[in-house]
């Protein structure tokens, strides 16, 4: 009997609003089939790419005789090749993703983003894979492009539970190695990892010519840190709790957070990562719309 999975993290209304938008890669992809994305190799699409001089061995059928008539020289007329992409969604499933201040947890929010992106990608014929990055919970679903695979991914997203310390750094390194061809890597995490370690991960991914997107999930309360009395903070990743008076340590907390965000921004810029800070209070449909619109390629 088929398992019934609740997929309330995907809002069909929001998806229908995004129906006219497509997920574009920012760099050429090496796909198996024809698709919506540029390929680094020339192909046979209708879109003209360039002329180049004929060299012996070229297929004479691709000679542009009109150009020969005008210039008395042989030119080969080349066209762009369109291909599909591989979308790998890396989801942080550490305990810290369970943070919820009002109703929505970080993981819930990440599920919505991941599910919607997977749906959009699958809908436009791209392959979709999923990697869950938790120290205790690790799951890897390689990218495939059939509808049944999307169901597997959505099921997995519905099942995933936040627990333990983060395994984001290891998962990112492994993903960089495992996904051999160019792919779009979308990271959904609160990124509470030292920036030095993140820097290595992103450089590794870029070295493998992946198009890396990072959705940095934070809650407004984590930024404001406004508490009116002493508070015992329980570590969601299992560390020792801390009893502190926010009136005393508030300034230092905010300074540490600001320094971290500045450093992270620098790391993202240096590694040319498509970095998005996302507040849980933002509507994820709007976040996705901004993201997709921002990726629409400019006219050549």
């Amino acid at each position: 009997m088929a398992r019934q999975v609740l997929r309330d993290f995907i809002d069909p209304q929001k998806l229908s609003r995004l129906a006219g938008l497509f997920l574009h890669a920012r760099q050429p992809m090496l796909g198996n089939v024809s698709g919506r994305h540029r390929s680094p190799i020339r192909g046979s699409s209708l879109e003209f790419a360039e002329y180049r001089k004929y060299v012996p061995g070229d297929d004479t059928r691709r000679l542009d005789w009109r150009a020969y008539g005008r210039s008395d020289r042989f030119y080969i007329k080349e066209f762009e090749a369109d291909t599909n992409l591989r979308l790998v969604i890396v989801l942080d499933t550490s305990g810290s993703m369970a943070f919820e201040y009002e109703e929505t947890s970080k993981l819930q929010y990440a599920r919505s983003l991941a599910g919607s992106l997977a749906y959009i990608a699958a809908n436009q014929g791209d392959a979709v894979g999923l990697a869950c990055a938790g120290a205790k919970y690790y799951k890897d679903i390689p990218p495939r492009r059939n509808a049944a695979h999307l169901k597997n991914i959505l099921d997995e997203l519905a099942d995933v539970e936040p627990t333990g310390e983060t395994g984001l750094v290891n998962v990112l390194h492994e993903t960089a190695e495992r996904v051999r061809q160019r792919a779009m890597i979308v990271i959904l995490s609160d990124l509470f990892v030292p920036t030095d370690e993140l820097k290595d991960c992103f450089q590794h991914l870029r070295f493998r010519k992946h198009d890396v997107v990072a959705f940095h999930l934070l809650d407004q309360n984590e930024i404001d840190f406004e508490f009116n009395r002493p508070t015992r903070f329980l570590d969601l990743e299992g560390g020792a709790p801390i009893l502190a008076d926010p009136a005393i340590i508030g300034v230092q907390y905010r300074r540490a957070l600001r320094d971290y965000l500045e450093a992270l921004k620098t790391v993202m810029r240096d590694a040319a990562i498509d970095y998005h800070r996302v507040l849980l209070q933002d509507d994820y449909g709007d976040v996705l719309a901004r993201f997709l619109i921002g990726r629409i390629p400019r006219k050549r």
Partner: protein
């Protein structure tokens, strides 16, 4: 510190409210699951320094503000360090008031003296702070503790008015000590109001050790010295050193020797009117003073031949100390200056008679009677001014009569007998004769030339005491301080301390085999005539007396001759200058002239006297109107306001705090 609303101090525990709230706040924590622990750990590590200090400062400012408010509404009283030292009303407050003449130095603009300033301030202070305390006054003239109903009486009670006397602070301290011991006064504050004049404090007095030790053994006794050591500016003092009524060329006149001391600016000469009053008749004399002292010697005033006795005064214009501006004198016919010589040595008696009757003043009459020791009981006690006793010291009735003679203010001069016995009189006895071991005679090497029989003459010339040669002298067992002494410390001439009269012991004789007293007659003559004059002064019907001296008659029987002194209580008469008649006796009371040269003690001299006692000195100024204790609630309100402002300043969020809220604007969600 004392308070006008001390009941409100029970609110002081409220100052702990911020701390209590803080502690409760710490205990009432809530638990929050948190993701961004890495920043919390960082913040916790950094907040151990300034941030934590800032937080505690905020807490301290809140406590300070509440304290300031409570103290302010409790209406604290303080004045400089005094206020902080006063720890609430004691059980007993003793006021030792120096009423000496120097305490009457005044501020000419306000007319307030050192004494009146001290009393006014003490009255005001104690009126506010001494509710429930017993107040006891010990003033310097009577040395008797008087319990007072209210501190406000200090300013107008006759027993606290100015006098011309000297004070003895150590004696006052002794009285206070005895009162505290007898009455078990509990926690006691002793206020000493004085100008710290050396002649009043007598730092050399042997009484200080006992007083200090006595107080050291007491718990809860604190001393406050309210001192006024600034000397008066522009003060002049007048003294009449001699008054003589004489007849010259058939006309009667008074001869006055007047001295004016000056402590004002000595650089310029000043002309000053001098008012002389004789029997109510006034006359003015202008004198020009250019140095620190002016002497008007032999100033004559013609008087009626029928005026055989009377009174007068010499006055200066009002200045910084009114007590030394007037000097009273009285005059009368001089009595016969009768000397009685008791000796069995005819040669000595003749020499003595010759010296005693040799008068340098034709207006004075001298007589000398010689009695053998067997006829000593025939001494005319009523008329004899000086008795010279050259025999073994008497005992029994004769000794008692001699003591009565001295108590009447007259004089005895003892000379050593050839064979001294063990009899002792006036605490003194003759011991052995001493002769030099070499041919060199004994000579006096130290003698007092400032007062006594061997003092300098009026012209300032010193007597040639050092030139006297002594071949034999008789040692004395008695006083240790002498008027003249030999190199070994033995006395040549000594005076026994008595309340009245004079008792002298001369250690050698005037015969040529004993000394050169007779051959170098100046010292002998002057010495004997001064002793005769001292003794005769008690016989005169006109006497000049220093205030504070014990008198034989009650002041209530005195008839004041000067109307200005009429309004004083009879009990106060012996302590201020004035002229009075008591039956046949005329007497002029004048200030103690030691007060004219009152020099304040320095801290180094004061410290040994009170060292080891819990005392605090408060230096004040004459005429200063500031209170010893003023309300200082404003200070605490300022403290409270400052605390609140600081607290608010410390609570202002730093720029860093406010800037973090901009880190996540909606536009930053997508870079």
């Amino acid at each position: 510190m004392s308070f006008l609303q001390p009941g409100l101090l029970f609110l002081l525990p409220l100052a702990a409210l911020p701390i209590v709230i803080h502690l409760l706040h710490q205990r009432r924590y809530r638990t929050v699951p948190w993701a961004a622990m890495m920043f919390l750990l960082d913040a916790k590590r950094q907040s151990r320094g300034m941030a934590r200090l800032r937080h505690y400062l905020i807490l301290a400012m809140r406590v300070l503000s509440i304290l300031g408010l409570i103290f302010a509404i409790s209406r604290p009283l303080a004045s400089g360090t005094v206020g902080w030292a006063i720890g609430g009303a004691p059980d007993t407050i003793m006021i030792l008031l120096d009423r000496s003449g120097s305490m009457e130095q005044q501020d000419l603009t306000t007319g307030e003296s050192k004494r009146s300033t001290a009393l006014a301030k003490l009255a005001e202070l104690l009126g506010r702070t001494s509710k429930g305390s017993k107040i006891v006054l010990v003033e310097s003239t009577r040395l008797e503790p008087q319990e007072m109903e209210s501190a406000s009486n200090l300013v107008n009670m006759p027993d606290a008015e100015g006098t011309g006397t000297s004070a003895d602070i150590s004696a006052m301290m002794q009285v206070a000590l005895e009162y505290i011991n007898e009455n078990q006064t509990g926690r006691t504050d002793v206020w000493v109001c004085s100008d710290l004049a050396e002649n009043d404090w007598k730092p050399e007095s042997g009484r200080w050790d006992g007083v200090r030790q006595g107080f050291e053994g007491l718990e809860g006794v604190r001393f406050y010295l309210l001192t006024y050591t600034n000397p008066a500016k522009g003060n002049y003092g007048v003294t009449v050193d001699g008054v003589e009524r004489r007849k010259l060329d058939g006309r009667s006149e008074l001869v006055l020797d007047i001295r004016i001391n000056r402590s004002a600016d000595l650089s310029k000469a000043i002309t000053m009117p001098l008012e002389i009053v004789v029997e109510g008749n006034r006359m003015a004399v202008e004198v020009e003073i250019s140095k620190d002292q002016y002497v008007l010697q032999g100033h004559t005033i013609p008087i009626d031949d029928r005026l055989v006795e009377g009174w007068g005064s010499v006055s200066l214009p009002n200045d910084a100390n009114p007590t030394d501006n007037t000097f009273y004198f009285v005059f009368a016919d001089e009595p016969i200056r009768q000397t009685v010589i008791v000796t069995d040595d005819a040669l000595l008696a003749d020499t003595f008679r010759m010296v005693a009757t040799a008068s340098s003043d034709p207006n004075l009459q001298f007589s000398a009677d010689i009695l053998s020791t067997a006829r000593a009981n025939e001494i005319p006690w009523e008329t004899a001014g000086l008795i010279v006793w050259h025999a073994n010291l008497p005992s029994g009735t004769l000794a008692q009569l001699l003591e009565t003679h001295v108590d009447d203010g007259r004089t005895v001069l003892f000379m050593p007998p050839d064979a001294p016995d063990e009899t002792e009189l006036f605490g003194t006895k003759w011991t052995d004769w001493v002769e030099p071991s070499t041919q060199e005679p004994f000579r006096a090497n130290t003698w007092r030339d400032d007062a006594g029989l061997l003092a300098k003459t009026q012209s300032g010339m010193a007597l040639p005491v050092g030139e006297l040669q002594v071949y034999r002298y008789c040692k004395l067992d008695g006083p240790e301080v002498h008027l003249a002494s030999f190199a070994g410390g033995d006395a040549l001439l000594t005076r026994v301390a008595t309340d009245r009269g004079g008792v002298y012991f001369l250690a050698t004789l005037s015969k040529s085999s004993y000394s050169t007293l007779a051959t170098d007659g100046v010292v002998y003559y002057v010495m004997l005539h001064r002793a005769i004059a001292d003794g005769a002064s008690a016989l005169s019907t006109a006497r000049s007396i220093t205030v504070g001296q014990e008198l034989a008659t009650s002041a209530s029987e005195w008839d004041p001759l000067n109307k200005e002194t009429d309004d004083r209580l009879s009990s106060e008469r012996p302590y201020s200058a004035g002229v009075f008649r008591n039956n046949e006796l005329l007497f002029a009371l004048n200030r103690n002239t030691d007060e004219d040269i009152a020099k304040p003690m320095d801290a180094a001299t004061l410290e040994p006297l009170l060292g080891g006692l819990d005392y605090q000195r408060i230096e004040d100024q004459v005429g200063d109107e500031s209170s010893l204790a003023s309300e200082i609630w404003r200070v605490f309100l300022i403290v409270m306001a400052a605390g609140m402002i600081l607290e608010a300043a410390l609570c202002i969020p730093s720029r860093e705090q406010s800037s973090t809220s901009n880190l996540f604007s909606p536009s930053s969600a997508q870079r």
